[in-house]
């Protein structure tokens, strides 16, 4: 290769590698802030600050959803298998909200076991399949089967 081009290539590669490392370090340093939410495990271990605005994420614990029949108040347990706490929310839940579903809630941690949510967002995973396939999987007791929803 022509020496001028070779030098240009080396300079460009050096700049790119340098910037890449800088971005990598920045990403690593900011990792906790880039995470959209705290997990129940982090709440249990005391990593998340009390009384501060934050987001938490986890799975809605089956059998723990309690709705007040007269108001929009709802409480449910949030878990990731390594920690759990109760979330209280007043408002309309998204369509995908159901037991066993991943959700993200925005609000404040009142104590290590109670979270007051102002907003509840539903997460969905990367699995897509027709309802009939899901039913067949569930019938066969396949481990990949998820709880069928009421959403159609």
């Amino acid at each position: 290769m022509n020496p001028v081009r070779k030098q240009r290539l080396l300079v460009v590669l050096a700049v790119l590698i340098g910037l890449g490392i800088a971005c990598g370090l920045m990403f690593y340093a900011l990792r906790q802030n880039i995470n959209l939410f705290y997990t129940p495990q982090q709440i249990a271990s005391g990593e998340a600050p009390l009384d501060a605005q934050m987001r938490v994420g986890g799975l809605v614990e089956p059998g723990t959803v309690i709705r007040n029949p007269d108001t929009l108040d709802v409480t449910f347990g949030l878990t990731d298998g390594k920690g759990r706490f109760t979330v209280h929310y007043q408002g309309i839940l998204p369509d995908l909200f159901r037991e066993g579903q991943g959700i993200v809630a925005n609000g404040t941690l009142v104590s290590r076991t109670r979270f007051e949510a102002e907003e509840v967002l539903a997460k969905h995973d990367e699995t897509y399949m027709p309802p009939e396939v899901q039913e067949a999987l569930e019938k066969a007791g396949h481990p990949g089967a998820k709880k069928a929803g009421e959403y159609n």
Binding site: R5, R8, L9, V12, V15, L16, L19, G20, C23, F27, R31, I34, N35, L36, F37, T39, G57, L93, P94, D95, L96, V104, E119, V120, L121, A122, K123, H124, D125, E126, T127, Y128, M129, P130, P131, E132, V133, Q134, K146, A148, G149, Y151, N152
Partner: protein
């Protein structure tokens, strides 16, 4: 032997005149194929694919959202490579290509963000969250706009290409962040459904229309790049003999 062939292609396609003849022969074939593949994928996905067990019919926006996002990411990678060639080897065709790739990619990035927001409202309950995937995708759109702006703000096209090429290369780091953001950090956005290695977590009845609409979008992107590059080549070579002859002959 293979290396020799690649090298010959590189020099041949590096010649604006050869590129013009080559693309003249390619476009009449590529355009109808691209339109056909795109239409088949979109119609199959939107009208005939089964509904999803969790999201019902609202998941169908995937057939627009995923092809647009993948096109925007691939286009940026291609623009980054063209930028490298333009900066290091000062190849004219790479400069032309960079200019041809940017607008469609920016449009796809915008479509990806818009369809993502529309999809997010019914499924997540929000149009927008500052999570890593969405924020990095917004930065991708800004990078595209930045490259287009640099190309237009500097009057000398060769100098403009060097500046824009540098920005295009640096932005490739962001493409990697977009791609892996859902794996490295916690996001509201789902993880990858289609995987390069391993089994995809989507039923085949939905996967095939998705893959076809992705292919259709990429082909349409290629058609758009070729058409734009031809216009740019003719403009840049306007003083050359072959372009003068071409113009006199009414484009034949």
């Amino acid at each position: 032997m293979v290396w020799q062939t690649i090298k010959r292609w590189y020099h041949m396609l590096g010649s604006p005149r050869y590129f013009y003849t080559f693309s003249s022969a390619l476009l009449p074939w590529l355009t109808p194929i691209a339109l056909l593949v795109f239409t088949v994928g979109i119609v199959w996905g939107l009208a005939f694919a089964p509904s999803d067990y969790q999201q019902g019919n609202s998941y169908r926006i995937i057939f627009i959202h995923v092809p647009a996002s993948s096109g925007a990411l691939m286009g940026y990678m291609a623009m980054g490579v063209a930028g490298l060639v333009a900066v290091v080897w000062r190849m004219k065709m790479a400069e032309v290509m960079m200019k041809a790739i940017a607008p469609f990619g920016a449009a796809l990035a915008a479509i990806s963000l818009a369809t993502g927001a529309l999809w997010g409202k019914p499924t997540w309950g929000t149009y927008w969250q500052w999570d890593a995937r969405m924020t990095s995708m917004l930065i991708l759109l800004f990078m595209y706009v930045g490259v287009i702006a640099l190309q237009n703000v500097i009057r000398d096209p060769r100098q403009a290409a060097r500046a824009a090429g540098l920005l295009a290369m640096v932005g490739v780091i962001n493409v990697i962040i977009v791609k892996y953001s859902v794996e490295w950090v916690q996001t509201l956005h789902q993880g990858s459904t289609l995987k390069l290695v391993g089994e995809s977590t989507i039923n085949p009845a939905m996967k095939y229309p998705l893959l076809i609409s992705m292919l259709g979008t990429w082909l349409l992107y290629a058609v758009n790049v070729l058409v734009r590059a031809r216009t740019e080549v003719v403009w840049r070579e306007r003083r050359s003999k072959w372009v003068r002859k071409l113009v006199k002959g009414g484009g034949q």
